[in-house]
Symmetry: C2
Subunit: 398 residues, 2 copies
């Protein structure tokens, strides 16, 4: 009997407990364990400044193997000098001793405030407590334990048939702004029971992340994902995927679906957000230009506040595209709010304000920029910018 | 007897009147006239989407000569198709007929909401009214007439001796976020009675703008200046500056001082802002890296909300530097709030929270990132991000 999220695939157990790192007593230590050693891959922040726990994981996952993942919230274990590296190692060693595996097979994550060392007594207490509660139903607790200012836990899963076997992909994620600033705005952990070579697993993760986790922006401070890990333990029993082909593509599509679902949850739970915004660039000349426009519009505080205010202020979208650095012809550009045309060939197009208001008042708003050039289409997700973003981020660290 | 701001130099008259473009009846038409034809230069937005009035000016100023500047607020004259170009031309022609000069010598600016055509009847009424009120004391009215969501008019001037003559530089500016989105977030008009060749005037403007108007960011939607014009009418009577040398440098320094004063006023009047933030990068390897870091920190909503909340959250500054794309060694980086060291060699440095609070509570806050590499230093100005930014920008266009 499988659970939800990261324990939906065969052979994964999880737990999430409170060990006292969060002052409010909420769950703050997450443990995920695969029954058998899994193939593993990871993608990490491109930030020059990196957390100590993240550095451990980035190094160890190079072997392509993992048995477990330990993540604490409430403290980023970042910018604390040599002690941070020692603490990370100790955290992995302690978990490994309980799990009877090599420390190198334990991946780590820490998310929370920067510049404070980990309380290792609490961490160890938490790992032990989580170890004792490991279960195939532990995914919801685990997803809660990695939350920081998230307002809801983020889980997804999908099953499909591959090589005549039922294969499942599960996932959990956290992130809703770069909270109390940490290196780990965003963490996503994906699990699957598929059998796939480490090389292809890595390739699949990279491909999928570029169209999901790397396509969300809450406040522009998080332009690339901070950490996405995937563990594939092979317990579905399919013949191992060792080359790109039909089966690899089926797996890729399912992985993309789970990843996009989690990514959209993160954008929707952006700090203070009331709406999910999907931005689409259509008929662009190439991917680079599309990406520049998507990024500029998704990061524009003026676009994001206009959507918050239900304001059909398409000029802000057009202007952001204009300063994005993308090469395009403004005199050919159409802009839509949902399916409502508001700007045609770069010029104001008369539209029904009531209809616009109706579209903007929904929980999910789509903005379309049609460049009428070539056929490259792409999309990105963000959220509106609200008073609550200021409240959440303007408050004292204490 | 000279006035303040743009009429401080000899031979300039100005006026600012209300012609009904702004619904609240505030001044919305500005006119500046030089007694004699002036050498002129301009710098314009790099945005792919450009307003019609701006396009006129960008084209006509190539001749290096100008007699007058007409600017309206309340309507951007942007994205309205061929009509926008026709209206701009008519605006210049009408002013030229009153001033008895060629239309090509009238520079234009329009700032306000995008996608609505100019009401030419009001524009003409305004130009006529302003023409009748032209005066050497008209600078304050003129500075008011270019305001949009600015909370105070922005003027500066400076006199100095050159070639035994008293020379004066004056200026006015507007801008406090990319309001009701327009092409002209920022407009600055500089005047001087110095005698200088058009080529050197253009060079001086470019040099100075790069260290002043191009170094302010309110919301990241305005990374480069939208329009800066300078008119030099030569009435100070100095021997014309025609080559770079001591006199050019004296002029350059004074122009920089006036420009930085105006630029800081714009940053301080950022929409909803309560504080001016000066960001300094010190001992950087080169200008490109310094610029990347300055830009990332100045645009970071997390840094800006932290300063609003008087939160000594240096991790956000460090993180923004980290994702800026700049090449630097995080383990050598020191961070200061004002003169208070809070991060040494990339690691948390114990500091007095009371002292930090005292620094952060001031009207002007300086953030210093010392990379301890080479000797390149640079600075940029921004403001904090507050509830009022959301209120101002989240409201309906109506």
């Amino acid at each position: 009997m499988n659970g939800t999220g990261i324990t939906a695939p065969k052979g994964f157990k999880a737990a999430g407990v409170s060990c006292g790192l969060k002052k409010n007593g909420n769950k703050d230590l997450a443990l995920l364990v695969s029954d058998v050693e899994a193939n593993a891959a990871g993608i990490f922040t491109t930030n020059t400044v990196k957390g100590h726990s993240l550095m451990w994981t980035r190094e160890k996952i190079k072997n392509g193997k993992a048995k477990a993942v330990v993540i604490n919230s409430g403290c980023a274990n970042a910018c604390v000098g040599a002690r941070g590296d020692k603490d990370a190692e100790e955290m992995a060693k302690f978990a490994a001793s309980l799990l009877d595996c090599e420390p190198e097979k334990v991946m780590l994550g820490s998310t929370g405030v920067i510049g404070y060392p980990l309380d290792m007594e609490k961490i160890k207490y938490g790992i032990k407590k989580a170890f004792e509660r490991l279960s195939a139903d532990g995914a919801p607790d685990c997803a809660q334990a990695i939350m920081t200012t998230d307002t809801f836990p983020k889980q997804a899963s999908k099953s499909f048939i591959l090589d005549g076997k039922k294969v499942t992909i599960g996932g959990m994620a956290k992130g809703s702004g770069m909270i109390h600033p940490n290196m780990a705005t965003m963490i996503a952990i994906l699990t699957t029971d598929v059998s796939i070579s480490p090389e292809l697993l890595k390739k699949a993760l990279k491909t999928v992340a570029d169209s999901s986790f790397n396509r969300i922006s809450v406040d522009g401070d998080t332009s690339v994902c901070d950490k996405v890990l995937i563990l594939a333990n092979g317990m579905a029993g399919n013949s191992p995927i060792t080359s790109e082909g039909a089966e690899y593509n089926i797996f890729l599509d399912a992985l993309l679906e789970v990843s996009v679902t989690l990514a959209k949850m993160i954008a929707k739970d952006g700090e203070g957000a009331t709406k999910l915004i999907e931005i689409r660039v259509e008929n662009c000349s190439d991917r680079a230009n599309a990406h520049l426009i998507l990024n500029a519009v998704a990061k524009s505080p003026l676009v994001k506040t206009a959507i918050f205010g239900n304001d059909a202020n398409w000029g802000r979208i057009f202007t952001a595209a204009g300063y994005s650095g993308a090469v395009f012809d403004p005199n050919k550009t159409d802009i839509y709010l949902g399916d409502l045309l508001v700007c045609k060939n770069g010029t104001a197009y008369p539209f029904d304000e009531e209809k616009a208001l109706e579209i903007l008042k929904k929980d999910e708003v789509t903005l379309v920029i049609d460049l009428k050039d070539r056929n490259v289409c792409d999309r990105m997700w963000t959220c509106d910018l609200t008073y609550d973003y200021i409240r959440i981020n303007g408050s004292y660290r204490t």
